[in-house]
């Protein structure tokens, strides 16, 4: 075995995996708190990519430095994505709270279709080019055999955001309130937690993370269209289930595992097979550990 090649694949897996993790968190946090799969999450990701495109174009025209363009694009896309997430929850899910479990699920699918069609009409159904915001920002010598400077920035940004989220959930009262609602919503109310507000915040954070992921991958891939949310959404959802849906650490771990499996499958077998390995891995986990790697067997939420 070739060590050089192995590390290249490992870094490429880490890069993908950190993005899957970012997006998987949105699924898992919403699931944890509402017991709902937010099918519109992939669409928030897609719309944020379009917003990022506009923001990047404007910032470049204004003549900002490369770093400033990247940061402003991330911020702008995150803010916009957050606004979408907030609105989706308000419009599509909140009115159905307390209804039959199937109703919000259908609402989620409807929301997802609506957003895709909206982008096709308002933007275009074709692929559009996305500027590569990540390159030429830094010179890396020591790792350059294994990872490009763009991938390195991508991985560092997403790992930093992940780390920030963990600190938030662990050490702030609001983050704690989120985890408390997951465990016992009524009890959280009895301690003074404004549950609706915290649920909104969950959507806001999850969507902002997806938007960060969207800008990073889009600038890595170089093009976007209305359909990009679909496959990424499925992959991230797979990552969330793999790690144990509802578990934040699980989503991060699931994302990384999925990214590594794909990268090694693509590198040692064939890139045609990477999805086969990714979903095969999911099937195996579901057979042998149905609750996911870090998930706990849970009884139905009531």
């Amino acid at each position: 075995m070739d060590g050089q090649y192995f590390f290249e694949l490992a870094f490429s897996g880490l890069t993908r995996g950190s993005i899957y993790a970012l997006i998987a968190l949105g699924y898992t946090m919403v699931y944890g708190i509402l017991g709902l799969i937010n099918f519109a999450h992939g669409e928030v990701y897609m719309i944020s990519a379009f917003v990022g495109l506009t923001a990047a174009a404007i910032c470049s025209l204004l003549g900002f430095s490369l770093w400033a363009v990247l940061l402003l694009t991330l911020l702008f896309a995150a803010a916009y994505g957050a606004a979408y997430g907030y609105t989706i929850e308000k419009v599509a899910y909140r009115p159905l709270r307390g209804a039959n479990r199937l109703a919000p699920l259908i609402s989620a699918i409807g929301m997802s279709i609506f957003l895709r069609e909206y982008v096709i009409l308002a933007q275009t159904a074709d692929f559009v080019a996305f500027p590569s915001l990540l390159y030429n920002l830094v010179e890396v010598d020591f790792l350059s055999d294994y990872i490009g400077s763009g991938e390195l920035i991508l991985t560092l940004v997403s790992l930093t955001v992940l780390g920030g989220l963990f600190l938030f959930l662990r050490y702030t009262q609001t983050g704690r309130a989120m985890r408390a609602i997951e465990q016992d919503r009524e009890m959280a109310m009895l301690l003074g937690v404004k549950v609706d507000q915290v649920i909104s915040l969950t959507f806001v954070i999850g969507s902002a993370l997806a938007a960060v992921g969207a800008v990073l991958i889009s600038s890595h891939m170089g093009q976007i269209n209305y359909n990009i949310g679909f496959l990424v959404g499925i992959k991230a959802f797979t990552a969330a289930v793999l790690g144990g849906i509802g578990s934040v650490a699980g989503a991060a771990l699931g994302g990384l595992v999925l990214g590594l499996v794909e990268a090694f499958a693509a590198g040692y077998v064939s890139s045609d097979y990477e999805d086969v390995f990714a979903f095969g891995c999911l099937v195996l986990i579901l057979i042998f550990r149905p609750a996911g790697i870090l998930g706990q067997q849970q009884s139905e939420k009531v």
Binding site: A180, M187, L190, L191, G192
Partner: protein, 235 residues
């Protein structure tokens, strides 16, 4: 301090409270006793704002509080320890206590209350890093009470603190209830099925049947009354 006047509430089509009147005076321990399904827990849920008050008024310190959202009621100092403890199992003991102080902004006072709680319940101090889900039933009840104390209640609402616990632990918990009532001048509204225990600890008591208050008075007098003796004390 707290007065319910003709309060009606319930679940969907079920009317569980059919016009409840009761009074809790400042500084006292007031007990509410009654059989299973009488509506005791429903009374607390209605006070805490988890259930709509359909008719009647709930007056707390001269102010009508019926149908305020739960967090407003918590802000006013009415803190409930619900039936079945409801500690957060995935949190450590310490995290459970810290989330009890969710609405507080006075870091110093919160720290002081944390010390007070850990002194009051030394077992919790010992277990502070342990996951709350792994505590015994008695320890969980202590944690539930301590978590409520962290919110610095003016009126503590306790729903069946003795539920499912061994006599020795029950005794310990009731001693602590009396201590907080005296040391902290905290008013306590205590729901119990264990009527003899409740009547021993309380100043006054109300008896609930089928969504109505049927008897009320000084705890000592009620303990002597024929109806209560027959129905609840098994004498």
């Amino acid at each position: 301090m707290l007065r319910l006047e003709g309060v009606k509430s319930g679940y969907g089509g079920i009317e569980a409270l059919k016009g409840v009147d009761l009074v809790v005076r400042q500084g006292e321990i007031v007990a509410l006793i009654g059989a299973n399904g009488a509506g005791k827990s429903t009374t607390l849920k209605t006070i805490s704002g988890l259930l709509q008050t359909r008719e009647g008024r709930i007056v707390y310190q001269g102010e009508e509080i019926q149908n305020l959202p739960p967090e407003e009621i918590v802000k006013k100092g009415l803190i409930q320890v619900p039936e079945g403890r409801r500690i957060f199992p995935k949190f450590t003991v310490l995290e459970n206590l810290e989330i009890g102080a969710y609405l507080r902004r006075d870091a110093l006072g919160t720290q002081a209350d944390l010390r007070y709680c850990l002194e009051l319940f030394p077992i919790l101090a010992e277990r502070r890093q342990q996951k709350a889900g792994t505590l015994s039933g008695g320890e969980q009840q202590m944690l539930a009470i301590a978590r409520a104390l962290m919110a610095r209640p003016k009126l503590l609402l306790l729903d069946e603190p003795s539920l499912g616990l061994a006599p020795l632990i029950i005794q310990q918990i009731f001693e602590i209830i009396k201590i907080i009532n005296q040391e902290r001048q905290m008013t306590i509204f205590l729901i119990e099925q264990n009527a003899s225990l409740a009547l021993k600890s309380a100043n006054c008591a109300f008896v609930m049947e089928n969504g109505h208050i049927t008897l009320s008075g000084k705890a000592g007098d009620l303990a002597q009354s024929v109806e209560v003796k027959q129905a609840y004390l098994g004498i």
